[in-house]
């Protein structure tokens, strides 16, 4: 970062701040990182069992399921679109996985069907948005309600459970315990985050994603296939939501038709905390990683600190607003 000052010939604070500002221009995730550290230290003192392996594992379990959804949302948001239907897609995918498992399908086949269905929903979202130019906020709000309605209608509102005699391999792969309370979902989460970030920062496609969200018209006249980028990102967002649904079902072994309700807002919140711009064109997955860790810590930490569960929502809301204010000011300061 900026420790060079100490080694530099003249030790002058302005130079340090200058270097820090330059660094900050390329690292919008700094705010979320700092927030994560602060909240972590805070809970270490206030929640007695916070600094245990079990507690870390439970944070990761929450963060992983949210984070997989949020990773897709981040990608999509950077390209300038929203997806409010991810909560419903998560529910649909979990339900398909549950029903096919119960019907005796091979688990792998049920999983693939759940993901394909999710991809189809994402594709539909993308086609509607790119063809009609109706804002994705509206389109996916419609999709959110539509698929939730279908889910309720098909199940009659009843939950579906599936209790196999022993843990199927597929379920273990998705969300089994492998070290104490640590679950494989954390590996999916970290793998997806790193992979998507690599794509975003190190490939041509990532460049096209930033350009599409940064200025769609400019990107288009420079030869970027912006509609294709958006379409692909809608599919990514939906598939990851579907994957999170299957992962969650593997943990609970039961799913009710309201599964995933409200998740879209938490996922967007995590992305925004991580420095992704609501208007598109900027952000990355490292920021989202810290965003979901922050949300996960707040959820586990508040419980462990003995606060009633309702405080969670209020606290996350507070963090979102503070994070946006901090991120915005950091950005402005860094560009001066």
């Amino acid at each position: 970062m900026g420790q060079k000052t100490a080694a530099g010939s003249v030790k002058s604070p302005p130079r340090f701040f200058h270097l820090f500002a330059l660094w900050l221009r390329q690292h919008p995730e700094f705010g979320a990182f700092a927030g994560t550290v602060i909240v972590f230290i805070g809970f270490s003192f206030t929640a007695t069992r916070f600094l245990t392996a079990d507690s870390m594992a439970s944070i990761l379990t929450v963060a992983a399921e949210l984070g997989i959804v949020s990773a897709g949302i981040t990608f999509l948001m950077i390209s300038g679109e929203f997806d409010l239907s991810v909560g419903s897609v998560l529910g649909v995918a979990a339900m398909i996985f549950a029903m096919t498992s119960k019907a005796g399908w091979p688990h792998f086949a049920g999983w693939v069907l759940a993901l394909l269905t999710s991809a189809g929903i994402g594709l539909l979202n993308g086609i509607i948005v790119t063809r009609t130019r109706i804002p994705s906020f509206i389109t996916t709000l419609g999709a959110m309600m539509f698929w939730r309605g279908i889910l309720l209608a098909v199940t009659g509102g009843f939950p579906i459970s599936y209790f196999p005699r022993e843990m199927p391999l597929m379920f273990f792969a998705l969300n089994g315990r492998f070290a104490g309370q640590f679950r494989t979902s954390a590996l999916w989460f970290l793998g997806i985050m790193l992979l998507l970030n690599l794509v975003l920062v190190r490939t041509r496609y990532g460049n096209a994603v930033y350009a599409t969200g940064g200025n769609r018209e400019a990107a288009r006249v420079l030869g970027v296939a912006t509609d294709k980028v958006k379409l692909i990102n809608f599919v990514i967002s939906a598939v990851l939501a579907g994957l999170a649904g299957c992962i969650q079902f593997s943990r609970f072994l039961s799913v009710d038709p309201m599964r995933g309700l409200g998740l879209e807002l938490e996922a967007i919140a995590a992305a925004v905390i991580g420095g992704t711009l609501l208007t598109g064109g900027a952000g990355n997955l490292i920021g989202t990683l810290f965003g979901v860790l922050l949300v996960g810590m707040v959820r586990s930490g508040l419980v462990q600190a003995g606060a009633p569960a309702y405080w969670y929502q209020a606290f996350v809301g507070l963090i979102v607003v503070v994070a946006v204010i901090v991120n915005t000011n950091l950005r402005r300061w860094a560009l001066k």
Partner: protein, 253 residues
């Protein structure tokens, strides 16, 4: 131009948007290594004409010839592949992205690792450093966001990008209208330099004085019609302004 096909020839171009006739039977030519000033009042159809040439949208009628060959330009990418580069006033670069990402957008060099291809960051940064120092722009790093550049610097970077990628025709849509006097001169100088390197240039503006100093010929549009075409030695800047000011005259058929 005698006998030889010009670099660009657009014939009988018409285009309407709903009830608005943006262009009506316009013929337009640009020669090799020529700066063509495309002028006319706001709404005359200048941007529409070049958007047709760059594949943003198709004409209703008309034909385009590039280097003597009939071409169908169906997308900005196809125009780019032909060697037609456009610098739009407000769409030249994407402010949130870094200079080097902008410079290579859509044409990024890659290194292969098995089946995977990753951005060749080293080559990108090196090239951008070179181009920036040629233009005379000082930035700490090619990773700086474009937002730190001034308007004139952005135009210059976009022009430098076109030259770097071997464009044959450079189109500038109102490149100077948001710039200070000093920055305008820098950009105008840079346009002449691009011409020296062998490019043809279409310079669109409604500021006649800006274009008059660099252009070889002028085409005047008015309400979607071509009303006049001059070589620089046939007309003064004041006369062009007078033609635009006095309004639409029947185009000679």
């Amino acid at each position: 131009m005698s006998g030889r096909e010009p670099l660009v020839r657009m014939v009988n171009i018409s285009k309407s948007f709903g009830t608005v006739q943006a262009l009506k039977d316009v013929d337009f030519e640009v020669g090799y290594q020529e700066v063509m000033g495309l002028v006319g009042d706001n709404g005359a159809g200048k941007s529409t004409l070049i958007k047709i040439l760059t594949g943003v949208f198709p004409p209703d009628t008309g034909e385009i010839y590039f280097e003597g060959r009939r071409v169908d330009i169906r997308s900005p990418k196809e125009a780019r592949d032909l060697g037609i580069e456009t610098v739009y006033q407000d769409l030249a670069l994407i402010p949130l992205m870094s200079i080097s990402r902008n410079f290579f957008l859509g044409r990024e060099p890659v290194v292969r690792m098995g089946p995977l291809r990753f951005l060749d960051k080293r080559r990108m940064d090196m090239t951008v450093r070179e181009v920036l120092s040629e233009i005379g722009i000082k930035v700490r790093s090619p990773d700086e966001p474009v937002a730190v550049l001034s308007g004139g610097e952005r135009q210059s970077v976009a022009i430098g990008r076109a030259v770097h990628f071997g464009a044959k025709l450079l189109i500038l849509d109102e490149p100077t209208s948001a710039l200070s006097v000093r920055e305008t001169h820098k950009v105008l100088d840079y346009i002449l330099e691009a011409k020296e390197r062998g490019l043809s240039i279409i310079f669109i503006t409604h500021n006649i004085y800006h274009v008059y100093s660099v252009a070889d010929r002028f085409t005047i549009l008015e309400h979607g019609h071509k009303v006049a075409e001059f070589r620089k030695d046939e007309v003064s800047a004041e006369e062009i302004i007078e033609i635009i000011r006095s309004g639409y005259r029947e185009p000679k058929e």
